[in-house]
């Protein structure tokens, strides 16, 4: 008889099996009480500011003009929204994500926002390219003002992760405080972060 050596997988699972404590009760997630009297839209706007972004309310029709005014130097704009059209290059020509380097502004549609931390959920579908929200110099996210939830518990009720190959919560611009705790925006990704709440 030949002894087949145990794989690492078997060894690990066997040791766990032998060493684990008595089975604990599975955790049943209770409903977490929400703070009363907080208007979530107001809290969301505040939190986006708190995490280093800007949040404004704008009519859909005026967004395009506003972007031109706010980002006068943006030569390359990559938009994944119907409100704004891309400028400066043909997005269909992007075959390698590194070609997105140099995008001045990315405009994305957010799925929903979270009031307690200003985060916005964006799934692969809204990004076109997974690297787009990170590689652009500046980021604008459009968000229906009706799609804001109170906290992260509500947030996960909105998402079915089995249906999202890749998705991310974004809360503010890329930042670091690695040099003597000084907060610097634009560490690696977008230097600024604007959320436009639409009607």
């Amino acid at each position: 008889m030949v002894l087949i050596p145990m794989t690492d997988r078997e060894q690990i699972l066997n040791t766990i099996g032998a060493n684990k404590p008595e089975e604990a009760q599975p955790f049943i997630m209770p409903t977490v009480q929400k703070e009363k009297g907080v208007t979530i839209e107001k809290q969301f706007i505040q939190m986006v500011g708190h995490v280093g972004g800007v949040c404004i309310r704008q009519h859909s029709k005026q967004i395009s003009d506003m972007i031109t005014v706010r980002y006068p130097h943006a030569k390359k704009i990559y938009s994944c929204t119907k409100e704004i059209s891309s400028i400066g290059f043909n997005s269909e020509n992007i075959s390698n994500p590194i070609d997105l380097n140099g995008v001045d502004l990315a405009v994305l549609q957010g799925c929903f926002g979270v009031a307690e931390n200003g985060a916005i959920w964006i799934s692969e579908e809204e990004m076109m390219h997974r690297v787009l929200p990170y590689i652009a110099e500046h980021l604008v996210i459009l968000l229906d003002h009706n799609s804001i939830v109170a906290n992260m518990h509500d947030a996960y009720e909105q998402i079915d992760l089995t249906q999202v190959p890749y998705g991310t919560f974004i809360s503010g611009p890329s930042k670091t405080a690695d040099i003597e705790q000084t907060l610097v925006m634009g560490a690696q990704g977008p230097r600024s972060h604007m959320v436009i709440l639409t009607d």
């Binding site: 794989t7 690492d8 060894q11 690990i12 699972l13 040791t15 766990i16 099996g17 032998a18 060493n19 684990k20 404590p21 008595e22 604990a24 009760q25 955790f27 997630m29 977490v32 939190m47 708190h50 995490v51 380097n101 979270v114 307690e116 931390n117 200003g118 985060a119 997974r130 690297v131 929200p133 990170y134 590689i135 906290n151 992260m152 518990h153 947030a155 996960y156 009720e157 992760l161 089995t162 190959p165 890749y166 998705g167 991310t168 919560f169 809360s171 890329s174 930042k175 670091t176 690695d178 040099i179 003597e180 705790q181 000084t182 610097v184 634009g186 560490a187 690696q188 990704g189 977008p190």
Partner: protein
């Protein structure tokens, strides 16, 4: 490494110790403020603790569930029983893809495994892309904190390092300027890299995917630009369900830096089109820790760093004095499991004040475990000699009242006769950086016998 000896170097520079202490305490204060903003904070800690208790009691089941779902999602799963196997697996994957330049985001597990030197020895360039990690990579040092790897570095020193490595202006130590320089440097690396390595913050059994959090966006930049993503995770990173993320993500960033959430919280479930996604599941002593009733709860840790920020010993001795990839209170209960002799001094590097347990978002009884490790280490005969001797002497004195009185009276006399400097040498490390209090003229016993219980003397 012997903690008191290693710490001695750090505390020689008093202004620097004070600066470090203040910088780290500032983060602790931000954590307090963030926690206080959430009325249900304590409830969340209870939930987190209960989820982790359930998880580790069925860890094998959850790992198998994760593996199965992940494979269905198109993720390639590898298992590594120890650090060496982990490094070999990672190198093997890189080798198959002929990767020469790897961009890596922060992962304490790869630090624990010594992955960077391993890959570098095989001729692969590894670029740590977290700004703090890049700083210490330039400095050829280890991280001194799990969340803020370069917290021990002054901006002047970082300016000097960048002048050397990135050709920034000499003497310019403005954090904005330096960060901008690093941004340009790292962007070039991202665009040239042919593989990316990340850690894993949470792996979800139910959905077969995992979550990585960063503030800089460096993890996502790396993995979304390169054709190969390798994620290394410890077996304890598993959580059963997606809804549990709600609990942990509310706790993690608030505990770590006082932020309501990190800038980026990314969920990976399927590889990008045309790219590969590998997950290496690593044990490296964790399943052994699971078998120790007193210590298994250390596997609850979500690596927020709060216990370091609050620890009076960590703040004043610096992360490097611990000589282990995870420093501070949690590192001092994880490291003896790896090697109780080598890390014997770490459970003693604590005042047992309990502040670590009070801030821990997953309610690990850190201080109790430190205390228990002391007993295990002393029993094994690894305790620092001086400690064992003093404890024996103490035991003798406390159980013999007359000896105790004579010893007390003698030390009070000695306190008056000899200069403090000389006495301090008896207490060695404890009095480095602080002084003995003035000794009273008479003992409490003498005072009590004279004045009795009613005195207000």
């Amino acid at each position: 490494m012997h903690h008191p000896v290693a710490a001695e170097k750090f505390i020689q520079d008093t202004p620097r110790v004070n600066w470090h202490n203040k910088a780290v305490w500032y983060v602790r204060e931000k954590r307090d403020k963030a926690a206080q903003d959430i009325p249900e904070w304590e409830q969340l800690r209870d939930y987190a603790s209960a989820i982790k208790t359930d998880t580790i009691s069925k860890l094998d089941k959850y790992l198998i569930e994760f593996e199965q779902r992940a494979i269905e999602n198109g993720i390639k799963i590898h298992w590594a029983k120890d650090a060496d196997t982990h490094n070999k697996i990672v190198h093997g994957i890189l080798d198959t893809h002929q990767s020469r330049l790897v961009v890596k985001s922060k992962s304490m597990l790869t630090e624990e495994c010594g992955l960077n030197p391993y890959l570098e020895a095989k001729g692969i360039e590894v670029v740590d892309t977290d700004l703090g990690e890049r700083v210490i990579q330039f400095a050829k040092e280890d991280p001194s904190h799990i969340v803020m790897p370069a917290i021990h570095k002054k901006k002047e020193e970082i300016g000097e390092l960048f002048y050397e490595h990135l050709e920034t202006e000499k003497g310019n130590d403005d954090p904005n300027y330096l960060t901008e320089a690093a941004r340009h440097h790292l962007r070039k690396k991202f665009l040239k890299a042919d593989a990316a390595i990340t850690g894993v913050n949470f792996a979800i059994a139910e959905t077969g995917g995992f979550v990585v959090v960063t503030n800089e966006g460096n993890a996502d930049m790396g993995v979304n630009l390169t054709p190969l993503h390798i994620a290394s995770m410890g077996i304890e990173k598993i959580i059963p369900k997606a809804e549990h993320l709600g609990v942990f993500l509310r706790l993690l960033a608030r505990s770590a830096t006082g932020q309501p959430i990190t800038t980026y919280t990314s969920h990976f479930h399927k590889p990008r089109e045309g790219a590969q996604l590998h997950v290496v599941i690593v044990d490296n002593g964790r399943s052994r820790q699971l078998g120790q009733e007193d210590f298994r709860r250390s596997l609850h840790c979500i690596r927020c760093g709060a216990c370091m920020n609050t620890c009076p010993v960590y703040r004043r001795s610096g992360g490097h004095s611990y000589g282990y990839s995870v420093p501070g209170p949690i590192g001092s209960i994880l490291s003896p499991n790896m090697d109780p002799e080598k890390h014997a001094s770490l459970p003693f590097a604590s005042t047992l004040c309990g502040s670590c347990s009070a801030v821990c978002p997953v309610k690990i009884d850190v201080d109790k475990q430190l205390y228990k490790w002391r007993q295990v280490i002393t029993e094994k005969g690894f305790a620092p000699n001086k400690k064992t001797l003093t404890i024996r002497l103490g035991k003798f004195a406390f159980s013999h009242p007359l000896t105790f009185r004579i010893f007390g009276s003698l030390s009070r006399k000695a306190g008056r006769i000899f200069p403090k400097k000389l006495l301090n040498t008896f207490f060695t490390k404890w009095t480095t950086g602080r002084d003995l209090p003035d000794l009273p003229k008479k003992s409490f016993r003498d005072w009590y016998l004279k004045n009795g219980i009613d005195s207000h003397d």
